[in-house]
Symmetry: C2
Subunit: 436 residues, 2 copies
Amino acid sequence: MNFDISLLEKCKNNSATIGIVGLGYVGLPLAQRFIASGFKVVGFDIDQSKVGMLTKGETYIQHIPSNIIKEMLKEGFCATSNFAQIKEIDAIIICVPTPLNKYREPDLSYVISTIDAILPYLQKGQLLSLESTTYPGTTDEEVVTRIEKAGFKVGHDYFVVYSPEREDPGNKDFEGKSIPKIIGGYTDKCLELGLAVYNKAISRMIPVSSTRAAEMTKLLENIHRSVNIGLANEMKIVADKMGLDIYEIISAAASKPFGFTPYYPGPGVGGHCIPIDPFYLTWKAREFGIRTRFIELAGEINNSMPQYFVNQIALVLNSNGKSIKGSKILVLGIAYKKNVDDARESPSIFMMDLLKEQGAIISYSDPFFPKFPQMREHKYNLEAVVLNETTIQSFDCVVIATDHDQFDYNLIRKHAKIIIDTRGVLHKLGLTSVTK
Amino acid sequence: MNFDISLLEKCKNNSATIGIVGLGYVGLPLAQRFIASGFKVVGFDIDQSKVGMLTKGETYIQHIPSNIIKEMLKEGFCATSNFAQIKEIDAIIICVPTPLNKYREPDLSYVISTIDAILPYLQKGQLLSLESTTYPGTTDEEVVTRIEKAGFKVGHDYFVVYSPEREDPGNKDFEGKSIPKIIGGYTDKCLELGLAVYNKAISRMIPVSSTRAAEMTKLLENIHRSVNIGLANEMKIVADKMGLDIYEIISAAASKPFGFTPYYPGPGVGGHCIPIDPFYLTWKAREFGIRTRFIELAGEINNSMPQYFVNQIALVLNSNGKSIKGSKILVLGIAYKKNVDDARESPSIFMMDLLKEQGAIISYSDPFFPKFPQMREHKYNLEAVVLNETTIQSFDCVVIATDHDQFDYNLIRKHAKIIIDTRGVLHKLGLTSVTK
């Protein structure tokens, strides 16, 4: 039997069923995209509460409103925690998290437990695509190996590709379908089938020579960001010391029509990509006896930024004869970047932790978080402060930690006693900051 | 007397005389631009041979052919080593080199000796612009101080700006006049006059708040390049070890429509900017008690690349049972980058030195250098090898060190016994390399 021809046919006539495992920031928009391309999609997640919400037509991701979920349901989408349904799927796409453990080592437990959970239900002729960011070699060493142990011959009766997600939450210029997508196959046949599966949902697929090349490509993209943000942060530290305004300098440099791309400093990096992904390469490189020094330096500098700004807060309070201890400090924005409802790895919260440790009376405001979210490593029983003249004036210091567009910066600028602007948003808006 | 109004008037009616000190890669094209804008230009250089050539209508810079020099002479351009003529100049523009000494410290001797040489001839109402790349504070601390000691009051009867050059030799997409140019003044009045002088010769001037901000902007541009090239080099080393093709990966990553800018690895960095400029900031930062770690790491990795490729050459020769000692090695391209006739700080030549040290029989070929140029630190009594089937076949190893467009890569690919391609040009042209 030609397993590949069967799947190719199903992709052509839109009769393939796509199974998406992991219905988070990556999996849910992807499900939507496949449905829009005319495929039947089943969503899998071990989180029963997510499955329950989706089944009721409710959402848990701000930029995918519930009316979109309801439309998806109408188009035949269903969500389930029952992995036995994998049997009826033609193409399985895995979008589970790949975090770091506390020693900054790759934590592949979500990927591996997903593979283990679906393994009993795999069928000949299926395609499996891993989308989770990971080090070069993961797909071959961790996924293909397990599938072959279960009795399949990958490339003949089972097909495996790696195709990294390229979501950029909050970026309105690029919509998921239009972002070119990298894909590498375990064999040429795997690649061919992977392309057939994705081609209708994604405008432009970029095939590379192997799963390893695809894995490395995704890491390079995020390493590039991490290093350039790290450099911007180091340059800010130098400029601050020299009494120069780094935002003025970056804007001026950006007038160069070639050879320069502006990156801006900030309180560090957050979210589920930039602080994490690069260290997947660092870890794997050790196997080959090499160090990834740019990645480590960028990590070190980016991670030091919350403390850098806490020191600035202390200095400014001190010049007013105050200590951090006992001062009322308002942190604006706890999302890891502007205009998103995601607080994972947010440097704002690392700053809050440092300020709290030193005895500050901490409050926050964030239009995306009316209540401080439940997090494993940060506990705050707080509700967002409503910003107005009276509330802003009541704080000894206001810290702009995340530059959401929804904040009224004129109001903040007018009534705050002291502003520490970690994002340079007042500079960009032409409002001068109280402090440098 | 209003010194500023007199200069403003002269700029408006094109009657100002511009004096350009230092007629090298920066000064000579700038002279051409000012002449094209209708100004009278006098060129100053201590190098009598340059002055002699220009006076005879001859050139020493490939991309400014002698017919351009002859046209400039017709338009009234003259070159001189007589600094007494500074008396007749309205705006003095200094374009002298700012190298590093052998301890990687700024060597401002050309700037300072230029100031000392012109100081006796300065006139009230003149404007002086420094274009040489340097650390924040140079213009104020080294230039203004000296001019004020000579009895002028800068901002009142003498005017000083800093406006860094943004030349990119070999870049055909951007012509000098169209590249926006940064400028910072010692006072607002200085800035106003500086803008008046440059406005006709440059399409778009970008004023910043101070000479220091302008100095820092230029450094940031080149630091950005140095760090991104360093990162590409580190990623090449990792990819090589993992058996991945870094060029495939960078090209794939470049398909991302946001957040990624491709930089490519190579044998190191050369020329008079990228290897040098960043260390001006490193040096100045020490005064403020801070380290510029990205700059140092980039310098270290970029400087290690010639040795990295020499090791690759040794490995490939070794696999053929040969040593570097006694092997005939042809280095293609000694310019520091493609399509330019400039070999300063060229990593190709550092590779040649390393190979020669280990006993290789070294030859080179470069369409821009029929004879090996006279250099202070590298001595080769060599003429460029003419590339053809016979000559190429006669070498044990051919190293593509500079990817000039003029090389016939098909011919090289076909006849070379072994190719080490430090620039990935064979990948870009779709010709596979013999080695990775």
